[in-house]
């Protein structure tokens, strides 16, 4: 997986959020109520020895297809961990980014674990478990450019990539006098930063880490975090038994370091402190 793919993931996640605003309301009406056995969905999962989880595989490092065309990525690994802790078999339900919530609501999957950022709009349609991962947008730049906070951006040239989460968030925090310049793809933005054509650039923390590691001579460092989006598992409204299990599950795997290990393995950056939902 390369840095461009990683960023595409961030961009896709952002775009998907928008698409869902449109799709969410329609789907809510078309919701198929899953067969409610006596004990609810958690009992059914345990009885059938199988949990169905959404798998979105076009958003590195969260979900990708590996060399053998098998789903892989941090969210897939998280799903495997969930099935393992439940002691049941995992069935991955492959979905596209805009289908993540519709597939859940339509009963095709029991739980959505596909880097769903927790937002007001989504919370109106599904119930979120506490977050198990985070996606940060940061300002990164060469060490010699002194930038400590948003106020320091004034008078600086800051590169952004069009149609990404950073394009949606950075202009809001940039003070008057910031020279924002836009590139069409992440590779160009990173190149502009490495070659010194811009003083700093907005990007996901994954991209910043990746570009800094690959260009040690450019001395790229993270200046500050613009915004952190937290993502978590989502279940259908009313499936409180499964939601409660997920709460416990996140709590335990946060304590034993499993979530941090999965996150580090795929994103190559440490997991930030996850707030409690």
């Amino acid at each position: 997986m390369n840095r461009r793919d990683m960023l595409m993931g961030a961009a896709t996640a952002g775009a998907a959020g928008v698409a869902l605003l449109a799709a969410g309301s329609d789907v809510a009406h078309a919701q198929v109520t899953p067969a409610q056995t006596a004990g609810g969905v958690l009992d059914r999962i345990i009885k059938d020895k199988k949990i169905r989880v959404t798998a979105e595989v076009t958003s590195p490092p969260f979900g990708i297809l590996d060399r053998n065309n098998q789903p892989d990525g941090s969210e897939i690994e998280t799903s495997r961990q969930l099935a393992k802790d439940l002691g049941v078999e995992l069935e991955l339900v492959q979905v596209t980014a805009p289908q993540r919530i519709p597939a859940l609501l339509a009963g095709r999957a029991d739980v959505a674990i596909s880097s769903l950022s927790i937002t007001f709009d989504r919370a109106k349609t599904v119930m979120f478990a506490p977050p198990h991962g985070a996606l940060s947008i940061v300002i990164a730049g060469a060490k010699k450019n002194s930038i400590k906070s948003a106020a320091d951006l004034a008078g600086k040239k800051i590169g952004l990539t069009r149609a990404t989460l950073e394009e949606a968030t950075v202009p809001g925090i940039a003070p008057q006098g910031t020279n924002l310049v836009y590139f069409d793809d992440i590779a160009a933005t990173l190149q502009a930063m490495v070659s010194g054509q811009v003083d700093a650039a907005g990007m996901s923390a994954f991209a910043a880490k990746s570009v800094a590691d690959r260009n040690p001579r450019a001395e790229i460092e993270n200046k500050f975090t613009v915004r952190t989006a937290y993502y978590g598992a989502a279940v259908r409204p009313g499936d409180f038994d499964l939601l409660q299990f997920l709460r416990t599950w996140v709590f335990l795997n946060k304590q034993n370091g499993v979530l941090a290990r999965i996150y580090q393995k795929y994103t190559e950056i440490p997991l930030v402190d996850l707030p409690v939902l």
Partner: protein, 229 residues
């Protein structure tokens, strides 16, 4: 699926679009003028310079005409800083467009120069004209007249091709359009309007170029009369 066009948002951003179109026009005209001057020198060197110079110019022309413009831009904007040469995006765009246009225009002008009948040049020689005088008084005018339509087309292509410089963050028409459509999500409307802007620019440029042709070559220029006879 039914799509509702909302052009109101385009009107809100009209000043920025005009600003972008203005930069597009300035870049194109600037690159045309500078490029033509460079091309005149190169074409002269290529047709009558010493062998080494001829080879160098040919190499330049072939390099420009056989590599993508986008890559040429990237080299100027992203790669030159590695050896300490840094240009602002707009300057890099102007340099790239000038060098690129000069490559094509050199070939066009060379064709024009070679279209002048050999006998006329020999007549100049026999009258004792210097090499420069032959160019000045015998070759330039008919050569330019012969290739004017090709140069004019190349100019319009230059203007349309300038949309590529948005890739190095120049806020010309395409750059502005890309930013606006990605922040407003009204891609159809903005691309539609961009098409209209480019079409208008191209048509107006063609009209102006035709007018220049008429003024310079048709309206009974004395040299024209002498040459046409």
């Amino acid at each position: 699926m039914k799509y509702v066009f909302q052009f109101g948002i385009v009107w809100d951003h009209l000043p920025r679009l005009v600003e972008g179109a203005w930069l597009t026009l300035r870049l194109s005209v600037g690159a045309f003028v500078l490029g033509l001057m460079l091309a005149a020198l190169l074409a002269f060197a290529r047709t009558s310079g010493p062998r080494g110079v001829r080879i160098a110019v040919t190499a330049y022309v072939e390099f420009i005409r056989n590599t993508p413009f986008l890559v040429q831009l990237f080299v100027i904007y992203f790669s030159l800083p590695a050896i300490g040469i840094r240009f602002e995006a707009v300057t890099a765009a102007l340099i790239g467009m000038t060098l690129n246009f000069a490559g094509y225009a050199t070939e066009i002008l060379r064709a024009g120069i070679e279209s002048v009948p050999r006998s006329q040049i020999e007549a100049g020689h026999s009258l004792g004209f210097s090499r420069l005088s032959i160019y000045r008084h015998i070759i330039v005018y008919p050569a330019l007249r012969a290739v004017y339509p090709a140069l004019a087309s190349q100019f319009v292509l230059l203007m349309l091709g300038s949309s590529i410089v948005a890739a190095i963050s120049v806020e010309e028409l395409t750059g502005i359009i890309n930013t606006l459509q990605s922040t407003t999500f009204r891609a159809f409307e903005f691309y539609f309007v961009a098409t209209g802007f480019y079409l208008t620019l191209a048509l107006v440029l063609r009209l102006l170029l035709d007018a220049v042709y008429w003024l310079a070559f048709v309206r009974g220029h004395p040299a024209e009369k002498a040459w046409a006879r």
